[in-house]
Symmetry: C2
Subunit: 356 residues, 2 copies
């Protein structure tokens, strides 16, 4: 349930301009405001409203106003090799550290074929796909992952020890849309459980555990319990691997040590770690040959026999590209309650929220 | 169901010596026989008998004897940059190409911090974990993945387009056992469905689809149908990403184009592609500091509250290390039917299969 499907429609440009102004009013530099805004508006356009202004803007603003996230950017490259870098983000805005790390990965991959960079002591960086996709216009395969506060237990456990620890992979195509996979390592997001609980609707098998660590179909029991990792112990392993790379390898926070990093924690820095990678396709194959092969594979998949009752097979990322086309044309839906929040925020910072 | 839990017990050393002899009788060089044997015996010791001599030896021998896999090694580095390499395996034994590629990744990562290498036109390379774990004694995080013949459909489809496309990640620890994750991207292996079909036992939800592409609990319908990817569309995305990297980026086979690469195809080369990566921990953090942090995280997880009815929480790879200790002491179980096959093979090649 990453997407909002109804609300008041606003043109992306208007939301973008307003958001940039808001961020500058609380001390974010113009460049950083443009970047942070783009990461959110792009998420909204792609239908990933959980990472758009819809859910994140008020959170980021409050964190900066309360001093738990720094408005001023202080990035320091603390380790640097031909194909790796570690950047200390010093509690700067997550997107600002991520932009530098992904750009360094791309620059290094141009020279050495592949690169892997990491940021330490950072914050929520938006959608992982946004960073992986930066590799696409460079003729590269992009990757990014970040850790997050605990929501899932190890297999056999009942204490939350792992975040949804998402990762994204972006692969360039030729004439087809690129492959863009962005996934949380839990079967469903917490929002999905909340929705079922509100409707007293049973969960599907495999979604969640109760507080004893036992599988449950009861959404209310699941609310007090745990999200299930994808593929059982397999997803648990992936979550832990993400935490080892993002949290432990960077010397940042990890697992159950997170104080929570969104609305539920407005007192402590989150100390998130994130990683970024770029693989230069031309180190392996001429780019046009590769993108033609990707196009061919995409067409084969889309033309393959459909399951009963299915009209269309999607490539990862395709729904988000469709949504972006639609929202560029028709606007971004902002739920009424959020519009009210934005009007308030606009008043407080003297940047009136625009009319739809 | 990767492990065999009963059979006649043989000391690992005796199986190792016999297997090396067998392979040399069919034209494999001594070095390559030692390597290929080690990959299989190590899998047996770790309880991953699907990749041990139990299932693979007769298949490899038959492929070599029929000329669909080359006994002679011909590896050519066709692209080489500071942190990447592409090796054309020319239908040599998969393990031989993999060993070179993983070693190149490690050597390059010592110099540049990280490396990513690939092999093209190769064969079944054994267990992915075997290659990822080569990074551990080097103070590196290892990764490997390979593609495989189609067993799963894209989400919404009903034509097999993706293999189980496994990947493995190995992360060094200090005093604790290292983290070793090795997973197929389907919820269960085909063997699990076969077992349930034999026992007329219903499947668990989320394991498989019937031939219309609809979820099924009927093992017989699943036998004619498809394996389910982990996490639904998420696993479909991972499978496709693995195929893009291993198959398409290397110019090897992919998806539905595979002729099948084990017993069901003894006429055509498999043309598998595989990828390997190594991240040098010291590019990010001093190794002792990192391994101490990993130890701490492992202990926290293992000491966390257990789900009702659970006695022990495992770290990925821990069960395999336990099995290895046990099998080094008590021997490797070989099912009776397989012992008969080995006795036959020993007669045919005049290397008598040893007594238990």
């Amino acid at each position: 349930m990453a997407g909002v499907d109804s609300g008041i429609m606003f043109p992306a440009l208007r939301l973008r301009e307003w958001t940039q102004e808001i961020l500058q009013r609380i001390g974010v530099s113009q460049d950083d405001a443009v970047l942070l805004t783009d990461s959110m508006i792009e998420a909204n356009l792609r239908g990933v409203d959980t990472h758009g202004i819809t859910r994140m803007l008020c959170v980021y603003v409050e964190r900066i106003q309360k001093g738990v996230m720094s408005a001023k950017t202080h990035l320091a490259v603390v380790r640097d090799k031909a194909s790796t870098a570690l950047i200390d983000c010093h509690n700067s805005i997550g997107q600002v550290g991520a932009a530098m790390a992904m750009q360094m990965a791309i620059d290094k991959a141009h020279r050495t074929g592949v690169a892997f960079t990491a940021v330490a002591h950072s914050n929520h960086y938006g959608a992982a796909a946004y960073w992986a996709m930066k590799a696409l216009p460079e003729g590269m395969i992009g990757f990014s992952s970040t850790n997050a506060p605990a929501a899932a237990a190890p297999t056999g456990g009942r204490t939350p020890m792992f975040g949804t620890n998402p990762f994204a992979i972006a692969i360039p195509a030729g004439k087809e849309l690129p492959f863009v996979l962005d996934l949380a390592t839990t079967v469903v997001a917490r929002g999905r459980i909340v929705l079922h609980a509100k409707q007293n609707k049973p969960l599907e098998p495999g979604w969640a555990f109760d507080d004893r660590g036992l599988p449950t179909l009861d959404p209310h029991a699941a609310m007090k319990g745990l999200l299930a990792p994808i593929g059982g112990y397999k997803g648990y392993g992936i979550m832990l691997a993400v935490d080892c790379l993002c949290g432990l390898l960077t010397g940042s926070n990890y697992g159950m040590h997170f104080p929570g990093f969104l609305a539920e924690n407005m007192t402590e820095p989150t100390d998130v770690g994130s990683v970024f990678a770029a693989i230069n396709v031309e180190s392996f194959m001429e780019l046009p040959e590769f993108t033609a092969a990707i196009d061919r594979a995409i067409r084969e998949i889309k033309a393959s026999n459909k399951a009963e009752g299915v009209n269309r097979i999607y490539i990862p990322g395709e729904i988000e590209f469709d949504t972006k086309s639609e929202r560029l044309a028709k606007g971004i839906p902002i739920p009424e309650a959020v519009v009210q929040d934005f009007i308030e925020l606009g008043k407080q910072l003297r940047v009136p929220f625009p009319k739809p």
